[in-house]
């Protein structure tokens, strides 16, 4: 969970930075999308590096899910008889309890998101438009429900990371009493920055700051 999660966090950082390029204008953003596909040229053919990264991402996501499902199944088997009293949680709180169902919702979001901006099937502009036009069309004010869906998904990603980043250090044996505070602050900072960074684009389009 920790290693694959770490790969996904690195992807999210890169993805967020890329998204923010939209604030530099249509040309810059489209140019960036083009560059993603021509990375490494002419040493490697068109779309080689991007494809490699995509395969890596799919592997990371699948392994991440596989670990989560096996842990959940082990948990179910480990307590065949449930408690009668209402379950009470005394520890860390909200983020920790959203990990499992939050993860499932994030997966559904990723599927939609890929159909939207990678395969263009559910995008209003479709494949003939530029990446910039597709994003702007996506989050148009009248499609507020799509924006809302993106916002909810990104908030869930934020919660997922808040617990997940800290938990990854613990799972890799890198947490101690001495660095506990630093790790909590790091996890919170990274999740807040990523959440705000991802929220900026859809909200900016909906409110007309990017058009």
């Amino acid at each position: 969970m920790a290693v694959t999660g770490g790969v996904l966090v690195l992807f999210l950082v890169a993805h967020m930075v890329g998204n923010l390029k939209i604030f530099m204008g249509a040309e810059d953003f489209n140019h960036y999308a083009h560059w993603l596909r021509t990375m490494g040229e002419p040493a490697v053919p068109y779309r080689t590096l991007l494809t490699v990264l995509e395969v890596g991402l799919v592997v990371a996501v699948v392994l991440h899910m596989w670990s989560a499902v096996s842990l959940a199944r082990r948990a179910r088997a480990a307590r065949p008889v449930k408690y009668e009293a209402k379950k009470k949680s005394h520890a860390h709180g909200y983020a920790t309890h959203t990990m499992r169902y939050g993860g499932v919702i994030i997966l559904l979001f990723i599927i939609w998101h890929l159909l939207d901006l990678t395969f263009f099937v559910v995008n209003p502009k479709g494949g003939d438009a530029s990446p910039y036009e597709r994003v702007v069309a996506d989050f148009a004010p009248e499609r507020w429900y799509i924006t809302l869906f993106y916002v909810v998904a990104v908030l869930l990603v934020g919660l997922h990371l808040w617990h997940g980043i800290w938990s990854a250090f613990q799972s890799l044996g890198l947490r101690s009493l001495r660095n506990e505070h630093t790790l909590r602050v790091l996890a919170l900072t990274v999740s807040v920055v990523l959440t705000l960074g991802f929220l900026a684009v859809p909200l900016a389009v909906t409110f007309g700051w990017v058009s």
């Binding site: 969970m1 096996s70 842990l71 082990r74 948990a75 088997a77 480990a78 307590r79 065949p80 008889v81 449930k82 408690y83 009668e84 009293a85 209402k86 379950k87 009470k88 949680s89 005394h90 520890a91 860390h92 920790t96 990990m99 617990h163 800290w166 938990s167 250090f169 613990q170 799972s171 890799l172 044996g173 890198l174 947490r175 101690s176 009493l177 506990e180």
Partner: protein, 251 residues
């Protein structure tokens, strides 16, 4: 105090078991939770009924024998406290209190509130020891131990093996117990010879016993009557990685 108890009754491992309601009266707020159950049992015996079976031994919070999930919380509402050290003044007069056994596949119910915790003993047998030469005790100062390590080892050694961490864990994992043992022995020079085999073997026994996997929810630490901190699990994971991926395990 007047209370309504809802207690798990199960006459044998094979029987299905159910919650049974018992009203109790005239309970002193200064009675411990177990003393309150003693009062109930005396009444049940006088009425010719089967008393409620529950585990206990020292009744002073050091042996790890008492258990009970009280209103959904292992060892009840007071932090850093075993059930035997929990007093009735922590409850409201007239309260309804649910009393259940530890719930885990690895801890089958023997009778009523008594569960079989021997998987924890098997985990200890598979690595929770050190090899020490017998004979005269060596001069204490011949093996220097840094003060910080001695303190951390001592804190981890406070684990009384009650199993509350398992009862509290949403995954039914005994990772806090494992972590406490691995930390306690692994921080001391005497624990070094078996250090890498210990962690692998104890974890293997743990998984084979049917305990779940840790997802760092932190419920264990809060439930632990000795307040053992979750950083022992980080140490467990670190030692496990060094022993397996790092290839330090010898046998």
């Amino acid at each position: 105090m007047k209370l309504t108890l809802r207690i798990w009754r199960q006459s044998s491992p094979a029987e299905k078991g159910r919650m049974v309601e018992y009203p109790v009266e005239d309970i002193s707020p200064d009675a411990s939770f177990l003393e309150m159950l003693d009062v109930l049992n005396e009444k049940l015996i006088a009425d010719g009924e089967e008393p409620v079976a529950f585990d206990h031994d020292c009744r002073e919070g050091i042996c790890g024998m008492c258990s009970l999930v009280i209103n959904g919380t292992p060892h009840g509402p007071e932090r850093n406290t075993t059930t035997c050290q929990l007093h009735m003044r922590k409850f409201e007069d007239g309260e309804v209190i649910d009393v259940e056994p530890w719930r885990a596949k690895a801890f089958p119910v023997v009778k009523d509130l008594v569960v079989d915790r021997s998987p924890l003993d098997r985990i200890i047998q598979s690595g929770g020891y050190i090899s020490a030469p017998t004979g005269t005790a060596p001069e204490a100062h011949s093996v220097p131990v840094p003060k910080a390590d001695a303190d951390r080892a001592f804190e981890a050694a406070e684990c009384i093996g009650c199993g509350a961490c398992v009862a509290a864990c949403p995954n039914g994992s005994a990772a806090l117990f494992l972590g406490a043992k691995v930390t306690h022995l692994g921080l001391m020079p005497q624990g070094q010879p078996e250090r890498w085999d210990r962690v692998v073997n104890m974890l293997e026994t743990h998984d084979d016993a049917g305990f779940g996997g840790c997802t760092n929810t932190g419920e264990c630490s809060v439930a632990c009557p000795k307040g053992i901190s979750m950083d022992v699990i980080s140490r467990l994971n670190g030692d496990m990685l060094k022993a397996s991926v790092g290839g330090k395990k010898k046998r």
